[in-house]
Symmetry: C2
Subunit: 262 residues, 2 copies
């Protein structure tokens, strides 16, 4: 099922949409967090008429399993350039994800360019490690997104971790589906956790909160991604992400996640 | 007026609080954005019973001028460890700031420590440049917070910019008022804009969205702060912040702000 179909919304009332948490976008039965947030991003853009989620923050309340869901959007302000709205994804009348977003039309964005850094070094996709879905590991979600991992960051799968809490590689959707600004939200949370490469026990790190800044509309092809964690303290970690389209930064992300207490 | 008094809330109904946007916390008449967000952080902690705003995101809808205001809190989930709620700051029934936050009790936080970096280099406070309030510039807000700017980043005030979009220095509240986790939210937005030091026209950069992660409770004394901007593109910029208490990172922030189109 395409990303577009997996995030489709049916209006059923003022600010209310019927959604489906699609099969196959999960990791061990729980839907990927970026995918869930992209459903809310789509709802905000549909409700406000602004096509791009300039900045969206999601707070994760409970895991999302495949099946029917509802989205409720509360619009706070619609201006000429920006629209701000809250959105809630609910299953069985229970909220599982709440979000706050400001949307805009990035096709009209303009301003001075002043970039302090260059794209992170990643070998070309053909020299990176593909992650293909199997029945066991990696999870079904990897059949929906296509990832190529930087060889230096792929050692965790063979038990040879780099010792650095980072993950770099390439992202695109399967079957040549174009990545729009909504699918970019998925890209911010699609890679294996940075902590997989740290000198710590490998563990899933449940997201508490994820914020994505969408800075430009992607063109076609592979997107260069880099995620890094610098601070693992007090039972939490952050993961900072950058997504580049050629020489252009098109998205930044930061998430706060739980570190298992072991 | 102390920070505590300037963010005081009076419960007036279920999830509803009377607040005051205090005099003197403004820049040219508009209240500082971190200060406004700290009012919502306090409301969330009071409404949920969790004392610390672990992660809070605010979207700025309109400037806030000193005077009476109301806060409405909608609680999404209260669990054993985390509570998530939305909050809106309104003046004359018009929302000026909406926020989404997850609160916790950081005094019980624990977990492995794994830090990839060291505190940013800043000379001791006595060797940095104080910013004292005057009737004109700097703004009245500087009478509420006490800042010392890294000499390398203070040139903008003398017309000798570093050319690097960063701002480093020390933060504390005036009159020895302790900085709690709510006042840390103010610290994430208290310094002059990073762009003041870039090779661009000096301009205020209105905040679209600010997210703060509060990772630990501060102890006493000056807090070391560093803010940097790497991507000025398409009419927007991000500013990433770190706040350190001695050798410990205690907060991170990122804001998305508007770059004047000139």
């Amino acid at each position: 099922m395409s990303f577009r179909d997996a995030t489709a919304l049916e209006p059923v009332g003022p600010g209310r949409y019927r959604a489906t948490i699609a099969e196959g976008w999960d990791i061990a039965g729980n839907a990927n967090g970026g995918y869930l947030l992209s459903i809310l991003a789509r709802a905000v853009t549909e409700a406000t008429g602004k096509p791009d989620p300039l900045t969206i923050t999601g707070h994760y309340l409970a895991p999302g399993r495949p099946g029917p869901a509802f989205v409720d959007v509360v619009t706070h302000r619609i201006g000429g350039r920006h629209a701000t709205a809250g959105a809630t994804l609910s299953v069985d009348d229970r909220p599982i994800l709440v979000a706050l977003a400001t949307a805009t039309d990035l096709s009209t964005a303009s301003g001075p360019e002043h970039v302090e850094t260059t794209p992170p070094p990643v070998p070309p996709p053909e020299d990176c490690i593909p992650i293909e879905p199997t029945d066991t590991f990696p999870p079904p979600f990897m059949g929906r997104v296509e990832l190529r991992i930087h060889p230096e960051d792929a050692g965790f799968a063979r038990g040879t971790k780099s010792g650095k809490a980072r993950m770099r590689g390439w992202f695109r959707l399967r079957h040549d589906e174009p990545v729009d600004t909504l699918a970019l939200v998925v890209a911010t949370d699609a890679f294996p956790p940075t902590i997989f490469n740290a000198d710590l026990p490998v563990a899933w790190t449940p997201t508490v909160e994820l914020t994505a800044h969408i800075r430009a509309v992607p063109t076609a092809g592979w997107l260069r991604c880099a995620f890094a964690t610098r601070f693992i303290t007090g039972g939490y970690l952050e993961a900072d992400g950058e997504i580049w389209d050629g020489d252009h930064l098109i998205a930044q992300s930061r998430q706060l996640a739980l570190v298992p207490r072991g």
